[in-house]
């Protein structure tokens, strides 16, 4: 069947009755869910084949969440485009998982021990059930068996829940509910097994058996507890290691794409000092932005725009433009004018100042101000020819049209352009400082 390539991945569905196996299977095969469920029940009647198949799928097939997480764990590394991320052509029509998981391997790799344990338990349970069913079908055996199965199901569904809890960080109330379910499942299984083993069902024998098994269980717990704790700790360590590994891979990918490329470029252009400085500055800016960016901060704020403009000026003219910003605000039309005026001032400062340019942005409750300072020889505004639009139109005129102010102070030590914008643009013309 060539249509297999376009099938959604086999994952357990969240639209579940027991564990979402039937719904997942139906989605994967493109069959109606009801049909699959009825088929499963019918198969269960045929000597429990359906039950075994269901249990097997339950253990082996991940939920959509797990599948997505497992795939997400691979870093999107641009270093290794040669490493195929998924089977070719495994485009999905499903929405939950991005790629079709290699589900037949997944469990064996990640939950190997759990699956072995589960399979062993299943085998034992299957043999027990087969034996008991083979002889005759006494109610006294069937009920405890059902209790065992029910208890196991409850506990196992809990296992699913806790896996998801790790992802969603569920509340404590849910956790308590989970423990209650686990305890109920355990009680059911223990009671069922006891009744089944003691056979007769007489209270006296059951009590004795209970006592004995509790004693044995206690002993086993005593022996296994340190081992289990160690195992748990190893698991935690392994998980932490894996997280670190992922982070490292991500950093390596980024450095490869940015810093190494720039260093190679710098080596090739070593003769041109101007280019080297420009490349180094641009790379520094990029790396800084990557290292220190605040993911919680809104993008596209005024300070971001000013910094972007400064970077552009730095790239085109080669002189450093240092931006210091205090406060921030969302962009409006007048703020855009302020950014454009700042850009013009930075261009002038970089071009005529011939050195580093200092830019200071301050946003306070009532006012937004930008200061652009260079250390060039300075100029007199009166001497600027009328036809030069840079200063007159692009800076002063533009700010006035948007209800702001602009002033230029120039001495032999340098020039400073001061741009101001009131919080709510009005027509008032503020005195130039």
């Amino acid at each position: 069947m060539t249509t297999a390539l376009t099938r959604p991945p086999l994952v357990r569905s969240s639209d579940r009755i027991i564990a979402g196996v039937c719904a997942g299977l139906a989605a994967h095969l493109g069959w109606p869910v009801k049909g699959v469920r009825i088929g499963m029940v019918l198969a269960s009647l045929a000597g429990g084949a359906g039950l075994a198949f269901y249990a097997w799928l339950w253990i082996m097939v991940p939920t959509a969440d797990e599948s997505a997480r497992r795939n997400a764990r691979r870093p999107a590394s641009p270093i290794a485009p040669a490493v195929p991320r998924a089977m070719p052509g495994a485009t999905t029509t499903g929405d939950a998982a991005a790629v079709r998981p290699p589900w037949f391997r997944v469990g064996g790799v990640r939950y190997g021990k759990e699956i072995l344990l589960g399979a062993g338990l299943l085998l034992v349970a299957g043999i027990l059930i087969a034996q008991l069913l083979g002889v005759n079908v006494p109610l006294g055996t069937l009920i405890p068996a059902a209790a065992v199965l029910g208890g196991a199901s409850i506990a196992w569904m809990q296992l699913d829940e806790t896996r998801r809890a790790g992802l969603l960080d569920k509340t404590k109330a849910d956790q308590a509910g989970g423990w209650a379910r686990l305890a109920a499942g355990l009680a059911l299984v223990v009671a069922g097994v006891l009744v089944m083993v003691s056979g007769s069902g007489s209270w006296e024998q059951t009590w004795l058996a209970l006592l004995a098994s509790v004693a044995v269980l206690g002993g086993v717990v005593l022996v296994l507890l340190p081992w289990a704790l160690k195992f748990w700790r190893d698991l935690e360590t392994e998980r932490a290691g894996r997280i670190r590994e992922t982070e490292r891979a991500e950093i390596a990918a980024h450095l490869h794409d940015s810093v190494l490329q720039t260093l190679a470029l710098i080596q090739r252009r070593a003769a041109n000092e101007h280019d080297v400085v420009r490349l180094a500055r641009a790379q520094e800016r990029e790396l800084r932005n990557w290292l220190f960016q605040d993911p919680g901060k809104d993008a596209g704020q005024l300070s971001d725009r000013i910094k972007a403009v400064a970077a552009e000026v730095e790239d085109s003219l080669g002189n450093a433009v240092e931006v210091v910003s205090v406060g921030d605000t969302a962009m409006t039309e007048s703020h855009e004018a302020l950014v454009q005026a700042s850009r013009e001032a930075m261009l002038n400062a970089s071009r005529h100042g011939g050195g580093a340019v200092s830019v200071y942005l301050e946003v306070s409750a009532g006012r937004t101000e930008v200061f652009i300072k260079d250390r060039g020889p300075g100029f007199d505004l009166q001497d600027v020819p009328e036809d030069r639009l840079g200063v007159r139109e692009s800076i002063i005129g533009r700010m006035k049209r948007h209800g702001g102010t602009a002033s230029i102070t120039s001495t032999e030590d340098g020039t400073e352009v001061r741009l101001g914008l009131p919080a709510i643009p009005t027509d008032y013309a503020e005195g130039k400082s």
């Binding site: 220190f292 960016q293 605040d294 205090v326 406060g327 200092s358 200071y360 301050e362 400073e416």
Partner: protein, 232 residues
Amino acid sequence: MTNIQGTGPQGTGPSRPAQPVRVVIVDDHGIFRSGLKADLDASIHVVGEAATVEQAIAVIAQERPEVVLLDVHLPGGLGGGGREVIAGSAALLATTKFLALSVSDAAEDVVAVIRAGARGYVTKTISGAEITDAVFRVAGGDAVFSPRLAGFVLDAFGTAPADIADDELDRLSARELEVMRLIARGYSYKEVAKELFISIKTVETHVSAVLRKLQLSSRHELTKWAAERRLL
């Protein structure tokens, strides 16, 4: 800037002292240390170098330099970097001044070393002449503020002279705010003095006062701010 007066023991201007300033450079990058040594003025004597927190504390205790040029990020110790070096040399703070030197502009890095006791902070990209000037200034007992650090201070203390704060350490005076704002705009101390019609000595006093507040203020917002900001 020969007219900047310091309060050094010789009473000379910071850029032309009678005796060379003894300096220890602490940085884990050997290339950077040697580059810095070559860049520094001849009147600065580099008497020691260190690459880790432990080395730095040992070298500083042995050489007792006037100024330590201290990288914020250092290997060794308990992972505290430059902050840990200052803490480990606390007994010498009266005679040895620390000037933080960092490639990092991250607010929490800078504020952490300043609060630990550094007298100033400059970025590693500044020129040899500027760093020489900063060394003399710190040796003279003054504080060195880069525009970026001034920006941090304004961000942390607020740009309006607060009147609700009950502790004097928790706010900047109107004059201190003006000084900080001008430094953030890229003004040198001399230019600040000229702009505000005050003496350079007064500017230095204001900057030192701001530094003290930055170091001593228990202002809740300051620490919270420093922890929260990962922005430039």
